[in-house]
């Protein structure tokens, strides 16, 4: 039980936000990709509320 508490932890993680690359035109006809692009474009959907919205429709808590 003590072992995990002795682990080193890090407060900050390297800032590695990706640049926005251009999605291949062939992928823009993909339903899954378009859905994700819509979500990324909408700030609300990528914030904390995205978790709650996903939980409501699906279940994020599988083990």
């Amino acid at each position: 039980m003590e072992k995990l508490n002795e682990q080193i932890t890090v407060d900050d993680v390297p800032a590695t936000n990706p640049e926005t690359f251009e999605v291949r035109s062939e992928m823009l006809t993909s339903t899954a990709v378009c859905r994700l692009l819509d979500e990324v474009r909408c700030d609300e959907l990528t914030g904390y509320s995205a978790m709650q919205r996903y939980d409501r429709d699906h279940n994020r808590h599988n083990r």
Binding site: V10, V33, H58, R60, R63
Partner: protein
Amino acid sequence: MRLDTVLLKVASRCNINCSYCYVYNQGDTSWQRLPKAMSPDTIQAVVTSLHRLYEDQKAGFAVVLHGGEPLLMPRQLLRALLEGLAEALPSCVRCIQTNGMLIDDEVLDLCDATNTTLSVSLDGPIGVHDRFRVTFAGGGTFEGALAGIERIRSNPKANRLFTGVLCVVDPTSDPCTVYNFFKELGVPSVDFLFKDGNNSKLPPDKQGLNSTEYGSWLASIWDCYVADQNPPRIRILDDMARLLLGGQSIKEGCGQRLYGIAVIDTDGTITKNDTLKSSFDGADRFTSQWTILSSRLSEIAATDEFQDYARLQHPTSPTCRSCDQLHVCGGGMPLSRWHDESGLNNPSVYCADYKYLIRHIQESLFGNCTDVESR
């Protein structure tokens, strides 16, 4: 720190015996010392405590009934808990993660009445599912799980009640067959999970630290997914792709957001993320003896001990810290970084799988990665 997930271990036993289960078959023995189900007093304390947490945080969180098998909880207690939670936390998501074997009309009516959803564990077609998800006598459980899903789907409120399936990946199976099976079943979402394992104990069907069985299996699922004009949600692929597209993930094990996860055992003990159990016996226990009967969750979440636990989600290994894919994999689940001698200070046992999968998604989305990197 804000809690986004409270996992209620409402039953500490299970009616089946999956060989890969982290609760019973990976070395943790805490279930043997726990009450089989939450008592009425503990249920009342949970409802009161979670209502107080909601008021303290002024923000919602998901409440997940888990086990063992949560539907082993006696029905009158399950009713008391779900009705109490619905009244105390009307705006919070409440769901049950079940193996599906005990779903009946009474459960569905109760879920409908309390606005509670169901997610079922199903690993794929019968030959895939029954390889690991077996009874105590060693028989298959596929038919029982499928019957449970069919009961949900035949309910008039199925669209609201059924949130999807949890599928533990079997990399020896054919990924397209598994994908098409879930499509034909009409599941709204699939959460593919890697089997538990670590740097001292390789996951089943993984040959070594540099092998990519799991990564290449999910890469094939990605190909099916993006070609499908009416795909279900696939949470892990969505998380990785969203991160590559500049967005964020929504679950621990991907990305670098810290998640606030508390688990409450059947006796009311508050523990860490239960998946840590697969690392060593008692790995999910806090040093502090917190219990829902006497501790305030918002105060626990503000302690150094809880925040140290939350920060375990960030990998510490120099290999991870300097990796250009860290923003996507996030180092994976902490349990998979474990090594009996070096603790969590290692890359995930699935590091090679993550790299393979992320590169595959990256190339699918943006074209040749060499071109991308040189832009």
